[in-house]
Symmetry: C2
Subunit: 139 residues, 2 copies
DNA sequence: ACTTGACCTAGAGTTAACTATAAGGATTAA
DNA sequence: TTAATCCTTATAGTTAACTCTAGGTCAAGT
């Protein structure tokens, strides 16, 4: 007798649209979601948790087709524990390098903030014309 | 008499393809690149630096059409310093929240690494069946 | 002079991930 | 019972960012 949720309730909760959830279902990402006799999807709390994991993988840049492999492994049970473990280890490395990249991006952005702040104060970009090493105290 | 680079040299340097660079040019991202009499592009060192800034903006998720606005402002000179400053301030906020998101993602990934490591050791996922608060020492 | 290889443009094709439409079925409220 | 508001499917359309093809030009080497 556990509570269930409609597709639009789940969409709202996860900041997605019902279209998107149906699309994920069509792509095989939600084989676990049960239905009523008349085909209406009934989402359990655990289904929402699984969708959060899917969103997590998506946010690492993993394409939907690869996420499906993971979902298939989940359906296959304990015999795929090794693959799933390795997948998350690999994801961890991916996210680590993404964090590194994003931090580099941040440094350049901060530099540009400083560049335009000082140019704005001077009224012209020309003050940066022949400088090579003007290190601002970052931040 | 400064050194110039061909499109394929620049592509190699920036880990892009010549196709992509021509596409960027077509979209108006490279109005500064000079040409020979026979229309061949001649990239200067400063053009490559500008392209690195474009790549930086791209890596924050900014769409090419918005990047074009920035390039247009650059062409317009000092009268657009304010807009450009504000754009980078806004980008900084964007990257900050992206970093936050990515760190949350990392936490979930690490949790899953632990989840599967322990499941693998036990030979079955069942060991996680009725646990709610098994906090592993993260990392 | 001729071939090779890198360059050029215009325009067509591709891909992923949605996003929307059309036509219909079920549940609730008056 | 009828209207509203969900839900369903199949299928078509959209968008961004490439990615490629065709047909041509140009400069260097043999």
């Amino acid at each position: 007798m556990l509570k269930t949720y409609s597709i639009s309730e789940v969409a709202k909760e996860l900041n997605l649209t019902a279209y998107t959830l149906r699309y994920y279902d069509k792509e095989g990402l939600m084989p676990f979601v049960e239905r009523t006799a008349s085909r209406t999807r009934l989402f359990k709390e655990s289904d929402i948790e699984a969708l959060k994991v899917i969103e997590c993988l998506k946010s690492t840049g993993m394409p939907i087709k690869e996420i499906k492999h993971f979902i298939d492994w989940c359906s296959d049970g304990d015999s795929t524990l090794q693959q799933r473990y390795e997948m998350f280890i690999e994801r961890k490395a991916t996210v680590e390098s993404q964090l590194e990249e994003l931090n580099k991006t941040m440094e350049l952005i901060k530099h540009k903030c400083w560049y335009y702040k000082t140019a704005l104060e001077a009224g012209t970009e020309d003050i940066h014309k022949n400088e090579k090493i003007e290190i601002p105290t970052t931040n």
